[in-house]
Amino acid sequence: MQLHFAKDVLPDSVGTDFQNLNKFNEQTDRFVQQLTEFAGEHGMSAGPLRNLMKSVLLVPQGALKKNLTTEQVKEDLLTLGLNDEKAAHFSSQWGQHYAALSRLAVGQTLMVNQLVDMEWKFGVTVGTSEIQKVGNIFLQLKLVVRKGNSTENVFMELTLPQFYNFLHEMERAKASMECFA
């Protein structure tokens, strides 16, 4: 495996590489760019380094998925053939960044019709074509819902009692969620 080839080159930069790894969920282009820069700095070609990183990334990805401890990550790395010093360094970095990484992974969880934004306005109806003078309070809500790659706007109107009911129900939902805190 190419890990043997990298043993001499990786030592100091493992730290910066982990900044990259923190972003592996998001911008792979930036990551690739940083890899290319790193390759340039150390006088090696980008291609093999990219392949190398693909293999290396398997470790944190699998570790995240299985919620591995620092110890388990270190063991796996040693089994794979990485030397002691680097495995220790890597796994301690893993321990440090684990919380942020798993938050990112959880944040990637599929959500259906995710509510992205809510806008509102309320006012008073002054009159209608049927009744000259009215004085009812109304509330209008605009919900922005993510459907696939685009968003959809949902508009609705609520009377005062409906608004209080909505508020009440949302508070009940929150209380239910709090049970899992």
């Binding site: 959880v106 969880t109 599929l110 019709n113 209608t128 000259q132 609705m156 109107e157 969620m177």
Partner: protein, 176 residues
């Protein structure tokens, strides 16, 4: 007119819509020619909508609408019928007014997400809210009732409650 109830019926029905069937029925009930029946229901319709629009709530206000020479008992009877039905007509008009789809029903459910394709084991709560809305004036061929189901993370729900709280505070200022 054959009876007080007949008068009441024609008033109520003419308020709603005017159509040929109503005219025919009225002509039959009151034993008057069709032309007169048509004029009768039209006049009643205009009268009841006038009362509703200007919110005439006292007998004097309504009586003032009739011409001087109008038959006194009939005038009083019609006024009484109009007064009795006004509140119901007003509520009906308000519920049919031009408006965005109205929120009719709200249901929610809280789920605990235990695993996903990127994380094998987790325990993250999420909330699903279903909103049923009804459009009081749907466009021709459009569906009046629509349903939207939305998923909220805990943070989203907190943000919503934040917003709703602010609305509630502002409402208290306006209404109080």
């Amino acid at each position: 007119a054959p009876s007080k109830d007949a008068v009441k019926d024609v008033c109520v029905q003419s308020h709603r819509t005017l159509n040929r069937k109503l005219t025919e029925n009225t002509a039959a009930t009151f034993s008057i020619p069709a032309a007169q029946a048509a004029q009768l229901v039209q006049s009643l319709h205009t009268l009841s909508h006038h009362v509703l629009f200007y919110n005439l709530t006292s007998p004097d206000q309504i009586l003032a609408v009739f011409p001087e020479s109008f038959h006194s008992n009939l005038k009083n009877l019609i006024t009484k019928i109009l007064l009795e039905n006004s509140p119901a007509w007003r509520t009906e008009a308000l519920s049919h007014q031009v408006s965005l789809p109205q929120l009719k029903e709200l249901d929610w459910r809280v789920d605990l997400v235990t695993s996903s394709d990127s994380v094998s084991r987790m325990a993250v709560p999420t909330c699903l809210v279903q909103l049923k809305m009804e459009d009081p004036c749907p466009s021709a061929g459009g569906e009046p009732v629509s349903t939207v189901t939305v998923e909220l993370s805990r943070e989203s729900l907190d943000t919503i409650l934040d917003g709703l709280g602010r609305i509630r505070d502002q409402l208290a200022v306006v209404a109080g």
